[in-house]
Symmetry: none
Subunit: 190 residues, 4 copies
DNA sequence: TATGAATGAGCCTTCATTCAT
DNA sequence: AATGAATGAAGGCTCATTCAT
């Protein structure tokens, strides 16, 4: 066999792409990505068929990592509030720890180069965590509003919080996290 | 230089730009914008020095319109909750009425082609309304959290709601508006 | 109105393309064509949507010129042999006078970048001349072989002769022309 | 360096190249050739130094096969006409049996990637058959026209006939072969 | 020797901008 | 001022060839 495809090189390309897309948007050129990744311009296309493909894979990669982060084993006897809090905590911390990825996500979410298929797959990744939240909220939330409060507001509010966290000094992170969670928990009560 | 002759032509260009940027992002070509606007390719550059300039002007234009919408004369004897509700109501309605502009805003907010100067000016536009909200919330919100709840969450949650409203059937609009306001009002209480 | 599209520039591009395709085939780069034509690389695409389009237009242009050449007004009382000879004469002379175009034709005829539609149009150009030949040959040629002798052999033999003429010294041109015509005329007799 | 180990692999590459060049011209990529041949991309370059080298070898291979076909032992007491006919017969049949090779030949003949040296070698391959034809034609053809009729027209007319045969239903092959031979034989008579 | 990932020059095309009309 | 042809610097992608395995 010849030189095998290198996972390291693939990652270098994705990392370089993330770095550049975070600051310049999807307009970042494949040439610049190759340069930052330390590979030849053509090499990008042995790992990704097209630039759009690269963009979609990057989106998938980041969302998968985020979804992974949210898969939590709850302590026994934890109450609903604690459970949602644990997820919230993880979510915001992930954002604070991966500011570049957050910026990339914001860029890619509004890009028409991410296919509906990719979006569908990503949504599915969060299915489990989502249902966990729903079960934890059941009973204390108006059922008519449940979908909106979980699928739209939860993710949205977390994004907002992450954005705020990323540009804040570290000592305020916990405070912001608590503030947004409080708002969400109190606000969603029937 | 004096004001360009045709205000109508300038508007046509901005409208065309909005339409195209909403769907294709800032990558929409000046040629395509000119075509949709019904003017020659070169004409764009008699109204806007560069494409970036056009983008910034468009951003400003939309934000100005939105800020205008939020300038409300409150009924005498209206209570704080009612006041914030009125602003909320206007905000969401504006989004529902201007879905294209909302999409444009989402694109431009994450673009590095909008200068910090432009962003600064836009922020200033909302100063008055912002203070109005602050005065209405004073007393019932933890002062430490006030800034975060107003400057970050209010706008952010409104955006989220607008996005949800835009893709929903009309008969759900009021419901969503109420749901998000309830969440915000109850959630921000100390 | 702005600068009008320049027929001269279009011709310069086609001429440059012909020159380069004659020697390097359809692989001649658009950049090299632009350089030889004395225009910017981008200008090619204001005159031709794609390279394939340029290729097809070039093919059409050359074939049209050749078809024009073959539209002859015969002297009154000219006999069939003389008529076919006059066409033959024009055909070979055209080839001798336009060696570059001949080479281009040879390249483009075997290229899959010339569409069947273009080929159809070109065939139609020669319809009139073709029928003239058929009428002149009627009676002295086996009807079963007529199509083959006209549509396939006439054009083919002329091509062969032109190729030979192009690489021969001028004083042999008439000789070669006579030789191939004699072969054709005698050979096709029933 | 000695002969590469696998003659079969070399043939597979040449066959694949022929198949692809017949349809796409010399622009067929070495990668696509490797794929069709069932070998690795790099393997092509252990058998052929460059793509141009592969092209030239392919040309040589096909022409050699054709030349082989034309080496005929004539029946004793065969007259001149019969001899030329036998060669003609073989020539056209070879074309009908090898349509892909014919298309390749047409592509390569007009390509500047086939060196003059390769062309010289190929011409030499047909020397014997050519002289056979010349001897058979001697006496009944104008000596001044002999070279043109044999070196240019014979091969050219055969090509034309082959092209026609290849696109015709099988039951017309003999007819076309006779028609073109008749034309040639009668046409070349002094 | 065979493999196929890696390379980077080069290709066609797009596009913001300029400028002749 | 308005037009749209002209420009040439990128951009995404392909490909012959090299080279590590």
């Amino acid at each position: 066999m010849a030189r095998p495809l290198s996972e390291a090189k693939r990652d270098a390309i994705l990392t370089a792409a993330a770095k550049l897309i975070a600051t310049s948007g999807t307009g970042a050129s494949t040439a610049s990505i190759a340069k930052v990744a330390g590979v030849a311009e053509g090499t990008i296309f042995t790992y990704f068929a097209t630039k759009d493909n690269l963009l979609n894979e990057l989106f998938l990669e980041i969302e998968t990592d985020l979804a992974q982060t949210m898969k939590i084993v709850f302590p026994t006897n934890s109450d609903p509030r604690e459970r949602v809090w644990l997820i919230w905590d993880k979510l915001i911390d992930w954002g604070a720890a991966n500011p570049t990825w957050c910026k990339v996500l914001r860029q890619l979410k509004v890009s028409d180069r991410i296919t509906t298929e990719t979006r569908r797959i990503c949504n599915a990744l969060f299915h489990e965590s989502r249902d966990l939240v729903e079960r934890s909220m059941a009973g204390r939330v108006d059922p008519e509003r449940m979908t909106f409060y979980i699928d739209t507001v939860l993710i949205g509010l977390a994004d907002i919080t992450i954005d705020a966290v990323v540009i804040s000094p570290k000592e305020q992170h916990e405070q912001l996290k608590r503030a947004s969670f409080d708002l969400y928990w109190k606000g969603t009560a029937a």
